[in-house]
Amino acid sequence: MFTQFKDWYQNRHDYAKDWKARTGGKVMAYMCTYVPEEILYAADVLPVRVYGSHEASDLTEQHIFGMYCPFCRDCVAQVMEGRYDYADGVMIAQACLHMRQVYSSWEIHKPTEFMYYMPFPIAVESPHARPHLVAEYKTFIEAVEKWTGKKITIDDLDRGIEILNKNRELMRKVYELRLLDNPPLTGVECMHMTSSSQMVDKREHNQALEKLLKELPSRKTDRETGIRLMIVGSECDDIEFMDMVESLNSTFVADDHCTGSRAFWNSVEPEEDRLLAIAKRYLERPPCPTKDTTKNFVRFHHVMQMAEEAKVEGAVIIQQKFCDPHEIDIPLLRQRFEDKGIRTYFLELDVTVPIGQFKIRIEAFLEMLRADELPF
């Protein structure tokens, strides 16, 4: 049922190349989910999010100092390996320093015809961020128009918004099914769905989602749900790891990370000023830790709400090694979980994970959650 998504995820580069051949359109490789994809769709440009490959590489150390996170190292490796050579443009919406480093190395060693750094605000809760971001969108639109030679009209923007919103609403529907006592999908399957939506033409993704939603509710899975887990972190497309966890009689039923729900959770609320509508969507979305900087701790509220709705029994908190923003949040966030009686286990992810070392920890964590199954 999820093979299409899995296939897209695994053959992301072939897809993008084929898409270019089919449509003759331009591809924008982008970093960070604060990039306004609506505007790119309005410009008929295909946004493809830059992912790692989870393969060790010896090409990064000369470009990045060792204390930079595995995800950004992995991304740089992909770029240097030439796996993104098909990209016509490269952009970043400012988030963490680590991704700024990826953008920098890309710009130095493999510049494309369109390189764009969008200084997305950090103070997303500030009222002043809105006009600022709208102005940045205008600047961005001018640059894109110059690049593609095509004017972006209101209708174009509406089309972009519609495509994105539809994708978000459909995936939200799938997420609602994860709340069931016996979710018809695994965390890995869900990961394939959300990740692929950042790689392929969302119009095709939407069709696949509509098909999925017809069959999914009545899907009979032979597997036990087991312990209901939530996975929380940054980029968490480590399929091998999630597979291992779900093979131990547990299921991920909720997530908060930017290769999952955080990227698509809320939709654009239509209003007269389209750019303002888009700006609000990105400023008000569930924040990346880099953007959660006030005493309101909005991220924590959102995560805990998700955890409760999904009736999770435990939370696996994973972090890309050296990711400061997450490292700052994690001890406080774990406390929030423990206060709600939800046990957490914390793991640091690298480009590749030592499955052996991690398995024993996860097994022990799950044993802890189902201690009553052991005789005492």
Partner: protein, 436 residues
């Protein structure tokens, strides 16, 4: 060896004054409350001219210099760090933040007594730790917190009215914030005076470091580390302006009289990033080879404000008064200050490896450096952003580069023996022998 040239050298006259000023700064903060004044804390990036406008009895504790002061005392630093680690925080987070947090957690002030809780925290951040640093602190200290987001592209690179406006709008709001938490009114006269002072201090620092382009260098970087700190403390204060006027005059006089920081200077180095504060003796070790470290983009550009031309050449930016900038209203003042501070070269480090490489090459040229020694700083993601790209870029220009790993705030990440061994190897490659 007698065959090597020796320059005249003498200690800095204003050294004592510097010590006194610094000690006084930390004392004033500690005592502010008891004297009926106001104390606040925030990053050294914070636009501290704003609280300055609320009276002469408003005193700040700027976070980075304070954390560096902790780093000077490894024993104290370790207690701070382990207090944090035992609460589950990672060891590889910003070392300055960890030292500061730890000092609050163990409730010890590096300058004696319990940690003096501020009346409010005011941050202005552009890296991904700045704002969160005080988000958590404000939670623990249960004090009001305002962050001014200055993570826009630096103005010497690209200028868009909305970016300046965004910062100015937040500055206006921060004034309302301070008025609310202190019950005081913002004195716009004082604000304007503060803005002029601030620009003077930071312009003077640029001019002082520019003098190090001379051979022999009038200042060595180890001393500069103790002197640049005032640009990060309370730069709007008159006494700091005066100190820099004095330092500038003295340094200029040293240049005129050919006074060297290092009598045996025969090789000029540039560094990078914050140093491993617990190991400044490494700079003294370099001197045994007749090597003087002239400074770095960090030393001159953390707070020094420069005009950066299209060819990346650096000239100290004349302060607002000298530029004839007239400030009449609060908005004038805030706008001028935002525009001023967004011109600091330091932003290159945090945004774009290529910009930083260009500035470093320019530095090597203008400061006549023969080699570079780059600190792979585990304590700061910002200043080590793109540092390997910088290394490659400098080597391409034929400049020998040595990298060493360390940490500005946590001595556990620095291996002195191995670093000295590297330096020996590097020096040998450069054909430099110890002079005695």
């Amino acid at each position: 060896m007698s065959d090597i040239k020796r320059y005249k050298t003498e200690p800095l006259k204003c050294w004592g004054k510097a010590k006194e000023l610094r000690a006084n700064y930390y004392k004033e903060y500690k005592e502010a409350k008891s004297k009926g004044g106001i104390c606040w804390s925030g990053g050294a990036e914070a636009i501290d001219v704003i609280p300055y406008a609320f009276g002469d009895d408003v005193h700040s504790l700027t976070a980075e210099p304070y954390a560096a002061a902790i780093a000077f005392d490894p024993e104290f630093a370790h207690r701070c760090e382990s207090a944090l680690e035992s609460k589950g925080w990672a060891r590889d987070m910003c070392a300055y933040m960890r030292n500061y947090w730890g000092s609050v957690l163990i409730d010890e002030y590096a300058f004696g007594g319990p940690f003096p809780k501020p009346d409010f925290n005011l941050q202005s951040g552009f890296c991904c730790t700045h704002a969160k640093w005080f988000q958590v602190l404000s939670l623990w200290e249960d004090v009001p917190y305002f962050n001014i987001d200055i993570a826009t592209i630096p103005f010497w690179k690209e200028e868009f009215p909305n970016r300046l406006q965004y910062i100015v709008d937040q500055m206006h709001e921060s004034i309302e914030f301070i008025e609310k938490v202190t019950g005081r009114e913002c004195d716009d006269e004082r604000l304007i005076e503060g803005v002029y002072n601030d620009s003077r201090t930071t312009s003077l620092w640029a001019k002082i470091t520019e003098l190090n382009q001379n051979t022999p260098a009038p200042l060595d970087e180890k001393s500069m580390y103790s002197l640049y700190v005032f640009t990060t403390l309370d730069r709007a204060r008159k006494e700091f302006v005066d100190f820099y006027e004095e330092l500038y005059a003295e340094t200029k006089d040293r240049v005129d009289r050919g006074i060297a920081a290092l009598a045996t200077e025969r090789f000029r180095l540039m560094s990078d990033s914050q140093p491993p504060w617990a190991f400044l003796r490494v700079w003294r070790y370099l001197e045994q080879f007749g090597v003087v470290s002239t400074g770095s983009i960090y030393t001159i550009g953390l707070e020094g404000v420069w005009d950066i031309a299209d060819d990346w050449s650096l000239t100290p930016r004349e302060d607002l008064k000298s530029r004839g900038v007239e400030l009449k209203t609060r908005d004038d003042a805030l706008r001028a200050m935002a525009d001023w501070h967004m011109r600091r070269p330091i932003y290159a480090m945090f945004y774009n490896a290529d910009w930083k490489s260009k500035l470093m090459m320019q530095y090597a040229k203008q400061w006549n450096c023969d080699a570079a020694m780059l600190h792979l700083n585990r304590g700061c993601e910002g200043t080590s952003l793109g540092i390997m790209e910088n290394r490659a870029a400098l080597i391409k220009t034929g400049l020998p580069v040595l990298t060493y790993e360390g940490n500005m705030g946590d001595d556990r990440d620095f291996d002195e023996g191995r670093t000295i061994a590297r330096i020996d190897t590097f020096m040998e490659g450069l054909g430099l022998k110890k002079l005695t």
